[in-house]
Amino acid sequence: MPSSWNELFITGEDAPAAAEAPAEERQGFFRRLRQNLSKTREALGAELQASVFQTLDDEAWERLEETLIYADVGATTTAMIVERLETEAGSGELSGGEELTRRLTEIMAEVARPGEMTIDLRPHPTVILMVGVNGTGKTTTIGKIAWHLQRELGKSVILAAGDTYRAAAVEQLVEWSDRAGCDIVRAAHGSDPGAVAFDAIEAAKARGHDVVIVDTAGRLHTQHHLMDELTKVRRVIQKQIPDAPHETLLTIDATTGQNGLRQAMLFREAVEVSGIVLTKLDGTAKGGIALAIAQELGVPVKLIGIGESLEDLRPFDPDDFARAIIGS
């Protein structure tokens, strides 16, 4: 389970020492997140408490349910988690609020960890395809990943400016490639995104880049023709390198509610999503929909976005995530 960068990325090499973010920095983020959350609760006047099980009365279960619903976990997954805990508590395995809270965190972390959570960078070049609905943070995440791979792992990255639709989307990615100090392939507005991906992979092969990251235009999962276009982009990539894209990351905005599940479902159908990037966790939203996605679709979160700067990207830590949701 990758809670640090060198566990997340499999490079087949010894990880450079610099790759490990200082423990203090990591804790800092989740502490801040929890503080934000408690501020929100005060503001809301909700009777959610710092610990769900401060008292173990009848209302505790309802409070737990509300806590999860409030985190956008959704009714189905909430019911599943509460039921599991209730069964364990009923059979006398657990006693006391503290133990229940600990077990609850464990269960949620387990749910949030449904499969392979690493990103394998051993293929040469590794192709990463970035997909998602509009405005969720694809382009920004690409900039952050590129920067990290270049700076921390010493990889040479090339970006494919595959959003040829939105106004100034290419310019935006160009700016990120400057910041990350990496190469970029771009094409005219309105041109075929598959062709851009193709060119970038060819360029990577010719120039010896380690990683190709393909940006795509935002699209709603309900737009069939645009989802078909995405499938086509994937096919183009596959034709060039049979195992590629090695990683297909779906950005989910942490503020997203139950629609996130539909997004994941339909993007997975179109392009075989291998992982989620949960963005904008620096706000007050807790991104609980990622738990529903993990539970119902088995797609794990691999990275989280916690701001708009280059360094605001972290490997996903299920335990921290679970703790942040219940505020313990």
């Binding site: 929100t40 985190a71 509610g257 629609n259």
Partner: protein, 442 residues
């Protein structure tokens, strides 16, 4: 993937049918379904609590007791309450007596502000014949200024920009000065996305507001937002005291409960709906459609998508062939009925069609009538369904008994079916739109 709330309520209250009135216990059952449906639609759980309490109070009142179909009655109450809550006394955009009218746009990152600036500019130009200018105050997001410049040129609005080197507060003030001196009717100020808990950026927003004295402050909210919408709305209300909301990305299949949450906690009206990436996908917000969408009845968009999803193309082609050969039977009719009804109650479906809703108030479209039709057909033998001419008097009496209806209802259906067959014959000889095309077509 979601059943409609009405379906759920029908099944939760199915036993009530026999005794015909709602007990407190029935209503509690219904409230659980409503609560679940609203939570699945992303309405904030505090708002849901308050809302179901209000609905329960009304449902316990006398008007429900007269109801014949308790499930539908409860749906009606919920729909009415929801529409009232979503709409209510709102204000429209305000135009200043002296130029320019200033509109300040604010919201979270990626919610659709810049796109909405372009759409609003286009809307004001086309519908209100206004000369619109845009101010590019997002200096943080890479290429945000470029994006606004492009959007502006697409809609014929002047864009005031000073790159990314200056303070957004200064840019806003400078743009206002230019709009004044150039005599623009409207100045729309695009700002960068900001988190409601980002103290510095919220202060910046307050300052932009102070300097530009906007006549309208609009909060741009993504329709896919979950429970957090209330926090965002409350914080933005506190800092910028916005006047109205633009809901974006309503072209998707999000149920949009955020709209209800935002309205409920701030009381601010939702003014516009943004329904696509193209700059003309922008319309006035309709509270009644939104209420139905949140309830799971969908709006027109969902209706079309549903029709596409539910309508089995193979069956459609088969049916078409049958009609051409005049082999259309009661079984096919039943099939059709099922297909349509899978999309929800027919009365609800018809209401979603724009313009039809209001005309429909006089017309009674009764789902129970369709229940009866279904019951009659299923009481026929396969031979009778395939060959209605077999239906003599004794057979009709048997069917009436089996379906719990009466002979005249059976007679009426058989007669109507005969007329339908005739009509289809006529159609199939003339110009008949391909049914499979209809199912696919937009």
């Amino acid at each position: 993937m979601f059943d409609t709330l009405s379906e759920r309520l029908q099944s939760a209250l199915s036993e009530v049918r026999s005794h015909g009135t709602l007990t407190e216990d029935d209503i509690n059952k219904a409230m659980r379904q409503i609560r679940l449906a609203l939570l699945e639609a992303d309405v904030n759980f505090q708002v849901v609590k308050r809302f179901t309490a209000a609905v329960k109070e009304r449902a316990l009142g006398a008007d429900v007791l007269e109801s014949l179909n308790p499930g539908q009655q409860v749906v009606k109450i919920v729909d009415e309450e929801l529409t009232a809550l979503m709409g209510g006394a709102g204000r429209d955009l305000v135009f200043a007596s002296s130029r320019p009218t200033v509109i300040l746009m604010a919201g979270l990152q990626g919610s659709g502000k810049t796109t909405a600036c372009g759409k609003l500019a286009r809307h004001l130009r086309e519908e209100h014949k206004k000369d619109v200018a845009l101010a590019a105050c997002d200096v943080y997001r890479p290429a945000a200024v470029d994006q606004l410049v492009k959007v502006g040129s697409q809609v014929g609005a002047t864009v005031y920009e000073q790159g990314t080197g200056r303070d957004p507060i200064d840019i806003a003030e400078w743009a206002l000065g230019r709009a004044k001196s150039e005599g623009r009717d409207v100045l729309i100020v695009d700002t960068s996305g900001r988190l409601h808990i980002d103290a510095d950026l919220m202060k910046e927003l307050a300052e932009i507001k102070k300097r530009t004295k906007p006549h309208n402050v609009l909060l741009v909210v993504d329709a896919m937002t979950g429970q957090d919408a209330v926090n965002v709305a409350e914080q933005f209300a506190e800092t910028a005291n916005f006047d109205g909301v633009v809901m974006t990305k309503l072209d998707g299949d999000a149920r949009g409960g955020a709209a209800l949450s935002v309205k409920a906690v701030t009381g601010k009206p939702i003014l516009y709906a943004s329904t696509g990436e193209k700059l003309d996908a922008f319309e006035r917000f309709h509270p009644d459609r939104m209420a139905q969408r949140i309830l799971g009845m969908g709006d027109v968009m969902t209706l079309v998508e549903k029709a596409e999803r539910e309508f089995d193309e193979k069956k459609a082609e088969e049916l078409e062939r049958k009609i051409r050969r005049q082999e259309f039977t009661f079984d096919d009719f039943l099939d059709q009925l099922h297909q349509v009804r899978r999309m929800g109650p027919v009365s609800g479906l018809l209401k979603m069609i724009p313009g039809l809703g209001s005309q429909l108030s006089g017309l009674k479209i009764d789902d129970r009538e369709l229940d009866r039709v279904q019951a009659i057909i299923t009481s026929m033998t396969p031979e009778e369904r395939a060959n209605p001419s077999l239906l003599n008097g004794s057979r009709r009496r048997r069917i009436a008994l089996g379906s719990g209806t009466n002979v005249s209802a059976v007679n009426q259906l058989v007669k109507q079916f005969g007329q339908m067959q005739k009509m289809m014959k006529a159609l199939s000889q003339g110009k008949m739109p391909s049914l499979s095309q209809l199912a696919r077509g937009r």
